[in-house]
Every structure is written in structure tokens, then in C-alpha cells.
């Protein structure tokens, strides 16, 4: 049954579940525990929660140190600050030393809404997937977010999990098990492949419904794991459909669209259209208004799908 719930809601509560299952998990937060939901871990066990204050660089460093003391550590803050402000700490301490730190800030993407461009992080996937050794998970919904947190907690090494603020429809059922390195075909089709990530998966599914009314059969793939990327699932689909549209609430520079372009360019070139924010900052507005404004809604995806098919 479809619910409407933010991906961030799957964060703190899954940390609580994992601790109750016996995992030695801690969260290091930078003054946003209510917003990110890491407060749920603090409420369970104050010793498993550390607030460093508004100090994201120190947040990553302290998380690194705690991991050296044997903890599996998740970090907080918003994606703009929890990746961008502390990029060098994530690069040189977490990834270079291959530490058990899970960078999982919330409020990624344009769907942050009214806070505006300063807070709408559109480059995080680009930054994080460029780091050697970093795993990058972009959950499509609340259930996928819970799976992402669980995978990160139980897999050694650095992770980035992209979590959002806005309430979005669920696309998975409760109890769905997802895996690192996998994409999921949520709808089969033959005319065009819609490769989506995060909250754009739900929009791609709506777009597929719209396209079906026109007699266009769209295949919808959720790229849950941007890195490592599930190349076989992508290539099998584009070999069948002959064209592809990428859909992400992220810059078209360096994110899912770039990852897909790399793979099809090297393996099976087909017409590619990209839905995303075209190398610009965001602006204030409600999430649904912003998705429409930047062409990230179902209508925008359907339009790109028609364009891709026309280029075959």
C-alpha cells in the first residue's frame, strides 16, 4: 500500500532497530538531531549519540575516531553541509583511511523546498561517488531508506546515503530486501528505459502511466545503489528499449545521469535524455512546485521520454 512519508523517517528508527539487534552503532550529529531523526538514537541510549554542535568538519573527524575505537558510526546534518562543508574530511580521513563511517545527512535535493538554494544540495552524489572506496545509496522511499541504513551498518567501509526531507510516496512494500550494488526494475517496458534515483522513482512511475496512455511502453529502473552501479540491469534494459532517460533531483553534472552516460557510452550507446537540475542552484518553493519548475515531475520525465524515443 502506498504511503506518503519522507526517506529521512527511515534513518533514526533503523539505527534504533540495529542497536536493539546488538550492533555497536553511534551517531554523530551537528545540531540537527530532530530534523535528521538521529535524536531517536539519543532517546534510546544517550551514550550512542554525540552532538558536536554546528561543526560539520569536527563531526566527520569525531566519527572517524569513534570508528577507530570499534564503533560503526553514522553522521548527521543536512546534505549541503554534511558533505560539502566537510568534503575534505570525508575524502582524506574517512575514504583515504577506509573507515567505518556512514555519511547519511538528510535534506538532500531540490525537495528541501522553502529553505532555498543554499540548502538544496544538488552536487552531493557527484561529490561522493567521485571518492575511491565510497559506496553511494540513493533510496527511493522510506522502505528503501531503512534498507540503505541497514546495509551501511552491516557492510564495512565508507558509505553515503542520500536522504530527503519531503514526504514522498512509497514505491516498495514493507519487508522488501534491497542489496548493495543492485538496481531494481519496478516496471517492465519495451520503448524507453526510465532510470531514476531517489524520489524521482515515484515520478518516473507516474510518467510511465502517462506514457502508457499514449501507447508508449516505459521500463522503470530504480538505481538504489549508484555506486557500485548495477551495469547488467541497465545494459539489459537499454539493449531492449534502445533509449534511456535519467531522472534525478540532483545536478545533471556528475550524478546519476553522468553515471548512466559513462556506462552506456562505453558499452551500448543509445539516445540519452537527462532529467535533472541543469547546472544551476535551486530556489525557494514547495517541493511539488519545484519539481514542476525544474522539469523533474512526471510531465517533465514523460516529455524527455518522447524526445528520447524520437531520436532512436
Amino acid at each position: 500500500m502506498t504511503q506518503t512519508i519522507a526517506t529521512r523517517e527511515g534513518y533514526g528508527e533503523t539505527l534504533v532497530e540495529l542497536v536493539k539487534e546488538g550492533y555497536d552503532i553511534m551517531a554523530v550529529e551537528a545540531d540537527l538531531s530532530g530534523s535528521t531523526t538521529t535524536k531517536k538514537l539519543q532517546d534510546l541510549d544517550p551514550d550512542r549519540f554525540v552532538n558536536v554542535g554546528i561543526a560539520e568538519q569536527n563531526m566527520i573527524g569525531v566519527a572517524a575516531g569513534l570508528s577507530l575505537a570499534g564503533k560503526t558510526v553514522f553522521t548527521g546534518s543536512f546534505a549541503a553541509f554534511g558533505t560539502g562543508r566537510c568534503y575534505d574530511q570525508i575524502r582524506n580521513t574517512v575514504c583515504y583511511a577506509d573507515l567505518d563511517v556512514k555519511v547519511a545527512p538528510t535534506h538532500a535535493g531540490i525537495s528541501v523546498g522553502p529553505d532555498g538554494g543554499s540548502h538544496q544540495m544538488l552536487e552531493d552524489v557527484s561529490l561522493m561517488r567521485g571518492l575511491p572506496g565510497m559506496n553511494v545509496l540513493v533510496p527511493a522511499d522510506y522502505w528503501a531508506a531503512k534498507q540503505a541504513v541497514r546495509i551501511a551498518a552491516t557492510t564495512p567501509g565508507p558509505f553515503y546515503i542520500r536522504l530527503g526531507r519531503a514526504k514522498v510516496p512509497t514505491v516498495y512494500e514493507e519487508g522488501t530486501v534491497l542489496e548493495l550494488g543492485k538496481s531494481y526494475v519496478l516496471r517492465e517496458g519495451t520503448d524507453v528505459t526510465l532510470v531514476a534515483g531517489g524520489i524521482e522513482v515515484a515520478q518516473a512511475l507516474i510518467a510511465a502511466d502517462e506514457l502508457a496512455k499514449e501507447g508508449i511502453s516505459a521500463e522503470v529502473i530504480d538505481v538504489f545503489s549508484v555506486k557500485p552501479f548495477d551495469k547488467p540491469t541497465l545494459l539489459a534494459s537499454v539493449q531492449k528499449t534502445g533509449c534511456v532517460v535519467t531522472c534525478e533531483e540532483h545536478s545533471t553534472v556528475g550524478g546519476l545521469g553522468s553515471a548512466v552516460a559513462d556506462i552506456i557510452g562505453e558499452n551500448h550507446p543509445v539516445p540519452l535524455e537527462r532529467v535533472g537540475v541543469r547546472d544551476m542552484f535551486g530556489t525557494s518553493g514547495e517541493p511539488d512546485e519545484l519539481l514542476a519548475e525544474y522539469g523533474l515531475d512526471a510531465a517533465g520525465i514523460a516529455s524527455k521520454a518522447r524526445a528520447a524515443i524520437a531520436r532512436k
Binding site: 573527524g61 575516531g65 583515504y96 583511511a97
Partner: protein, 281 residues
């Protein structure tokens, strides 16, 4: 724990300085100034009966930690690991070369004995604070000895804002198992720290953040050992030891010269340096 006499530790520091010059000459690049300034501090830490650390089991789960926040002083760390017998002395000459474990800045994935990779400045104090907090939580849960974390920072390095984020955090958490040592050699790449960034009053800065501080002559081994041991006895807050040092210490033509921050000696300069240190061929 290794506890040697002051004379022996001084001999260790001298041997480390000789190795620093030899490896940098062979590498043809690297950072002599801040490695030489820190040699007495690092020798005292490992051989002065301060750190719970054994060359027989460098990964012992109850060991104390040393994090070289000023990662460009990698040669002083490699030199002390050689003194401990954890690196063969001839391997020191592979510093900075292709396929060497002795990277230009310490790499914990390549070299056991390096607790965590460093090199990008200003990050070691945060990491050390995280280890100190984690060790304290583990001790509360599991018992066992109080594990201490030592970290060595450069004075130029503490211009990085993250250092003060970490200083605030460590004091707020009451991390009395954390001891930071500032190698106060007064010079950074572009000149005197006071001219470049107005850096002065390091002790009072740390005090205002809630730390206890100790000032010491960073080339007086007996005084350094006393300061380190005192620091381990103080409860309730982290301790910062401000060690007054001379950049390039031990090689007269390198002393107090910012130009020797990141330049390796050539053949002739190395010969002169080694003659002065008593390590000539």
C-alpha cells in the same frame, strides 16, 4: 610501555634525526624542518614511559594511540617506528618512492603503526577526540585500563578552524584521556606564524576553550617526559602541551629557516647535516 633513561631517549632522538636526513636526501623531497623540531617530543612519547605501547604487539587492543596530525612530519614517525624495530632501517630509504609503504604523508592502509592516515592539516585533533571518546565508552562497558590518545599538531596547523571545533568538543566532553602536543616551532611555509596569521598565545587560546595547558622546552627530553606524565595525571579535561621548539633543530643551517619546511637536502647538504648530527659515514 617502554621507559628508557633520558640519555637513551636523547640518543634515540639523535638517531631519528640522522635517519630523517638520510631518508629525505634519498627521497629528494619532503619536510625536514617540522620533522626535526618534533624528534625529541616523539622520542619521549614512545620511549619515556608515557604511552602504553609495545613494539611486540603494536596492534594491542589496549594500547595508547598516537596520531600525527601534522602529517607532513611523516619522517619523524617513520624514524620512531624504525627505532621500535617496526620498520627495517633500510626501508626508510624508500620514503616517497613508488610502491613504498612510506608514503609522503602517513597512510594507515599501507603501514602498520600508523593509526590513521593524515596529511590534510587540522584533522588529527577531531580524530583523536573521537578515539578518546570511543575508548572511554568502551572502558565504561568493558572495563580495562584507561586508554589515552596523544596527537601532535603544528603551530601553523592550528590556524585551521577545525582544530578549534575539536578543542571545544574535547573540553565539553571532558576528554581527560586526550593529550594534544603543539610543536610550536614558530614557522610555517610562508614565514613566521605571527606574521602570516597573527598566531600567538597558544596556551591561553586552549585554556579559554576549557583545556589545561603545560608549556615546555620541546628539546629538553627530561622536561618533555615530565610534562607528558603530568598530563596523563590530570583529570576532568583534555591537556594541551605547548612545546617550544626550533624548526630544523639539530642541523644548524636548517634551524629557524622557513625555507627548510618542505625541501630535501642535496648530497652535500646531507653530508654536512649528518656530520653535525654525528651520523657521517
Amino acid at each position: 610501555m617502554i621507559e628508557e633513561s633520558v640519555d637513551k631517549i636523547e640518543a634515540r632522538a639523535k638517531s631519528m634525526r640522522i635517519n630523517i636526513i638520510k631518508m629525505l636526501k634519498e627521497a629528494g623531497s619532503g619536510h625536514p624542518g617540522g620533522s626535526l623540531s618534533a624528534a625529541d617530543i616523539v622520542a619521549s612519547l614512545y620511549f619515556g614511559g608515557v604511552m602504553n605501547y609495545s613494539e611486540d604487539d603494536p596492534q594491542h587492543p589496549e594500547r595508547d594511540y598516537f596520531i600525527l596530525s601534522k602529517g607532513h612530519a611523516a619522517p619523524v614517525l617513520y624514524a620512531v617506528l624504525a627505532e621500535l624495530g617496526l620498520i627495517p632501517e633500510d626501508e626508510l630509504l624508500t620514503l616517497r618512492k613508488l610502491h613504498s609503504r612510506l608514503q609522503g604523508h602517513p597512510d594507515s592502509k599501507k603501514l602498520p603503526g600508523v593509526e590513521v592516515s593524515t596529511g590534510s592539516l587540522g584533522q588529527g585533533l577531531s580524530i583523536a577526540a573521537g578515539v578518546a571518546l570511543g575508548a572511554r565508552l568502551n572502558q565504561q562497558r568493558d572495563g580495562g585500563p584507561k586508554r589515552r590518545v596523544f596527537t601532535l599538531l603544528g603551530d601553523g596547523e592550528i590556524e585551521e578552524g577545525q582544530v578549534w571545533e575539536a578543542a571545544m568538543f574535547a573540553a565539553h566532553q571532558g576528554l581527560d584521556n586526550l593529550i594534544a602536543i603543539v610543536d610550536n616551532n614558530n614557522l610555517q611555509i610562508d614565514g613566521d606564524v605571527r606574521d602570516v596569521a597573527g598566531l600567538d598565545g597558544i596556551s591561553s587560546k586552549f585554556q579559554s576553550f576549557g583545556w589545561r595547558t603545560i608549556e615546555v622546552d620541546g628539546h629538553d627530553v627530561s622536561a618533555i617526559v615530565t610534562a607528558l606524565k603530568t598530563a596523563t595525571l590530570l583529570d576532568g579535561s583534555p591537556v594541551c602541551i605547548v612545546a617550544h621548539t626550533v624548526k630544523g633543530k639539530g642541523v644548524s643551517f636548517m634551524e629557524n629557516q622557513a625555507g627548510w619546511h618542505g625541501k630535501a637536502p642535496n648530497e652535500e647538504q646531507a653530508r654536512d647535516a649528518l656530520a653535525e648530527l654525528g651520523g657521517g659515514e
